[in-house]
Symmetry: C2
Subunit: 340 residues, 2 copies
DNA sequence: TGACAATATGGTAGCGCTACCATATTGTCA
DNA sequence: TGACAATATGGTAGCGCTACCATATTGTCA
């Protein structure tokens, strides 16, 4: 008798003995049934069912040197934006052998680097990271890992491997242009704690307004606190106090936009007549708000789906021609900015 | 030379050789430094640093028969409610060796059962599941697994092992009583696709109103679609059409409550004068809304924290006296129901 | 029909750890 | 100082798979 107690569950050896075949044949049959004759296939399948055999992924990973794991590093677990993409990633891996492992970087490059080391120690099949602002250290780890890597949400000039996202600069410019087209000209900006993508949008707004010589620093209201609807209200209140002639606000995201709307409602400021409001992400609530809120729609579910698609393609050996996918964005115009 | 290529990274054997000790001593030192003399400890630590050694969790798990993994099965990835708890679980496991593995059951008992089998094949250290309505099959798997199991969000009469949550029946009764106390008496109910906890709350509302002989079926508006702010608007519209004399609504969650508020704003129905609105969960936006929205605060972060605490206690060998924790709830009264 | 290729199956060793046991070293007490 | 316990360290085998190679079986063609 062995001196080491196993898990108690059936192993591949049990199945092999039960079916009267070699263990390796069972292994083959599980990974690619076409490599085993029909006769044995049926016998093995029967044994698997009878013994309720479920392969042990960690033994598999140890033996093959590759875990059927896709690591995902996201900056926040309680941000619905990332949750939408996570859902897509889970959905897309649903009928594959791949398991999703989530790491929360808390918007911290060092934490990202640390998690990356931990994840790589598990030989993941692929990795998904958010944004294009990884530390040099992380970039090296990712490149040396020699596995498919997808950067999501933003596309930039020099992807580590593949990327799926959009240009936040272009999106920001579109927001400004839309407001100008609607006749707004004293355009403010509300933003809470900035992530790199928000920073890029804010910067693009500044650049754009500067180029038109209509940029006024007093209309930019920032805080270091995390985004929230309440913060949106506070920022709006502050803006109205400091620059009461402001006629529209670009909000760093939809939560802030909703807060801005509530503050206008509370102060009796009519939207869009006295104040235009535009958000970013187009959360579902933007359409339901009254007045409904204009926003930039970003297809976060699609980003996750495409990221996994790219990864699976590569893992299946298909070289991708397209290393960078621009998922674009769409300005959804609603009441909150419709003046004409 | 070995015929099998390793990962390329340093292994425990490399560290052992480098430090001039046995591999098992390195293993010991990593898991419990106090079991190794200071002399060797320092030497091994130096070697670990120089070789940048990171232990391979899957090899560790295979050898020890137990993975440092806490499995979490949640019904939805894009529901902020679960995200809050997930964040707590991640935060609480941050400085432990445990990794969090998330499964998305999509509110489907069969999928839950399937994921459970897959998770158990990995010998997780513990499991967290949502609610108390697991299938018999799942309950058996969980009991046979012989590991700490925590059911979260709801507490019931017969926990599988441990549970951390609240009584949704009591919460619902509190909502009804609050509305009655505020002078509302024609109380409606708006709900989208029901999960078991929502069902329990709806049922408690029915029972309560029936016992007071003021229950009227026409005031209950339901749909099979998923909860959303837009659905909240639609349900409210429907309620106003079918039962225009309704003077307050209990909403299955905050999204629906926010939608109900917007519909009232759109129709010029004053809140709370003509219509009281109460939500459930107390999302951050409830406070920021105008008028602000009454809701039941549930401490979702704390639920996650306590669940992990209980698990870590048990994994450390401390038997818990308290197998069931009632995290309670708090009715946060705001403008939307404040009549007096 | 024989030579060879293609296909199907299996044995062995090894992935990187730790459980289990053995042994060497140190400390404690009469 | 000797006997024994406590402490520190190490060797070996095994966790449950699969890579790699070997061999048996079948098919194909001149």
């Amino acid at each position: 008798m062995g001196k080491r107690k196993g898990s108690g569950r059936a192993t591949i050896t049990d199945v092999a003995e039960h079916a009267g075949v070699g263990a390796i044949t069972v292994s083959r049959m599980m990974r690619d049934p076409s490599k085993v004759s029909e006769k044995l296939r049926i016998r093995i399948e029967k044994s698997i069912k009878e013994l309720q055999y479920i392969p042990d992924p960690k033994a598999r990973a140890l033996a093959s040197g590759r875990a059927d794991v896709i690591g995902v590093l996201i900056p926040s677990l309680s941000n619905i934006i990332f949750a939408d993409t996570l859902r897509a990633i889970h959905d897309s891996t649903q009928n594959t052998p791949y398991q999703v492992l989530i790491g929360n970087t808390r918007y911290d490059a060092q934490e990202e680097n640390h998690l990356l080391s931990l994840f790589l120690a598990q030989n993941p099949a692929a990795l998904i990271v958010v944004g294009i602002d990884q530390s040099d250290n992380s970039i090296n780890l990712l490149k040396e890992a020699n596995i498919p890597v997808v950067q999501i949400y933003e596309i930039g000039p020099d992807p580590i491997d593949m990327s799926v996202g959009l240009s936040h600069i272009a999106a920001s410019e579109t927001m400004v242009e839309h407001l100008l087209n609607q006749g707004f000209c004293k355009i403010g900006y509300l933003a809470a704690r900035l992530d790199p993508r928000m920073e890029r949008r804010l910067e693009a707004y500044r650049t754009k307004l500067n180029s038109l010589e209509i940029f006024e620093p007093k209309r930019v209201v920032l805080t270091n606190k995390a985004s929230s609807v309440n913060i949106g209200r506070k920022l709006m209140r502050q803006l109205i106090d400091c620059a009461p002639d402001t006629d529209a606000v670009i909000c760093a995201n939809d939560d802030i936009a909703l807060g801005a709307l509530f503050e206008c409602l509370a102060q009796g400021i009519s939207v869009p007549e006295q104040m235009g409001i535009i958000g970013f992400n187009d959360l579902e609530m933007m359409q339901a708000a009254y007045p409904s809120l204009t926003s930039i729609r970003t297809d976060r579910y699609k980003i996750g789906t495409l990221a996994v698609d790219k990864i699976l393609q590569r893992l299946n050996g298909d070289e991708t021609d397209q290393k960078q996918i621009d998922t674009g964005f769409e300005l959804i115009q609603r009441d909150s900015t419709s003046r004409r």
